[in-house]
Symmetry: C2
Subunit: 192 residues, 2 copies
């Protein structure tokens, strides 16, 4: 079936995300993606320069989705405690609702290639930056950043555990569990 160029492009993006998330960058061939979309390879190349460019576009888009979700959620909470839980809730909801995006970002294979890794790192660093102000104790910058990355690590590690292998989970419950742990931890950090 013929589609208009924009419609086809959109469909290809969806399909490519699904295929890359499932198989990873190297294991997924352009033919696989084209097949999954019900077209042939040259169609893919009418819409995207190269495999790299396609993958990078997806990575960017998914990274943006995650950071937007997180900033939207955390800006509306007032105190640190609720920000922590709200942040985790947004994160786990993202993993729950947009699992392919999570897999693409942290699945990974994205962290291998230097250019891809840089994109993912940017997402993680931006999340960590958002966490930094939550850490009240008067500690060194290095210390603060390490703790911020501890929280991003929690989100990633727990997500991989609860959602890995397509398991079902309740994002809000997990956020409550993890938020409790994280906030309790942050409160107990002593001044240097």
């Amino acid at each position: 079936m013929r589609l208009s160029a924009p419609a086809r492009r959109e469909q290809l993006i969806q399909t490519a995300l699904a295929v890359f998330a499932e198989k990873g960058y190297h294991e997924a061939s352009m033919n696989d993606i084209a097949d999954a979309a019900g077209v042939t390879k040259p169609v893919l190349y009418q819409h995207f320069e190269s495999k790299r460019e396609l993958y990078l576009a997806l990575l960017d888009e998914c990274g943006r989705r995650l950071t937007d979700t997180l900033t939207a959620a955390t800006t509306e909470a007032e105190d640190g405690r609720s920000q922590t839980e709200v942040g985790f809730r947004a994160y786990f909801r993202f993993v729950h609702d947009d699992f392919d995006a999570f897999r693409l970002l942290f699945g990974s294979g994205a962290r291998r290639d230097e250019e891809f890794a840089a994109t993912v790192r940017k997402v993680v660093d931006r999340s960590a930056e958002a966490i930094v102000p939550l850490i009240a104790a008067d500690i060194s910058d290095e210390h603060r950043r390490a703790l911020a990355h501890a929280l991003t690590g929690i989100a990633e590690g727990v997500s991989r555990h609860v959602a890995g292998g397509g398991k079902q989970f309740d994002p809000d419950t997990v956020a409550k569990w993890v938020g409790e742990l994280a906030w309790g931890g942050l409160r107990s950090v002593r001044r240097d």
Copy 2:
């Protein structure tokens, strides 16, 4: 220079670890590894069945090194608090001293291929199992396991941050920071 078969094998293992850690599974060709070792490809195939088998052997070995380190460290500590810190200390020392092994396991690209991913998952799950008894609160198994994976996530996330890009760091200091966060968090977990 000619080496005896066992010596050559050992050298190839070291070299392959370095090359795979640096470039990842797909980006590293058997020629790259052979070159780095100062030999030609067929030599590699005299010692290892295939690229996969070589990579898997390395993955297994590195996983074993990490879990051994962790179990050795944690069994000797008595109370939960010191176990937490000692565990993190062991982890960060591993990352510090055996950075290539860490990169190979969590770099990743190892988590992409299903067989490779299973090996890494085994390492993470085993670490999480070791953490589970530290969680004193009377909570559900699911909850407990999620928190255990939060701690493994911390270790991984923080390691990536402090050691990423070949940066220098003091493992014991980082362990102190992170141990404080984790133990404080675990203490504040409430019964379900």
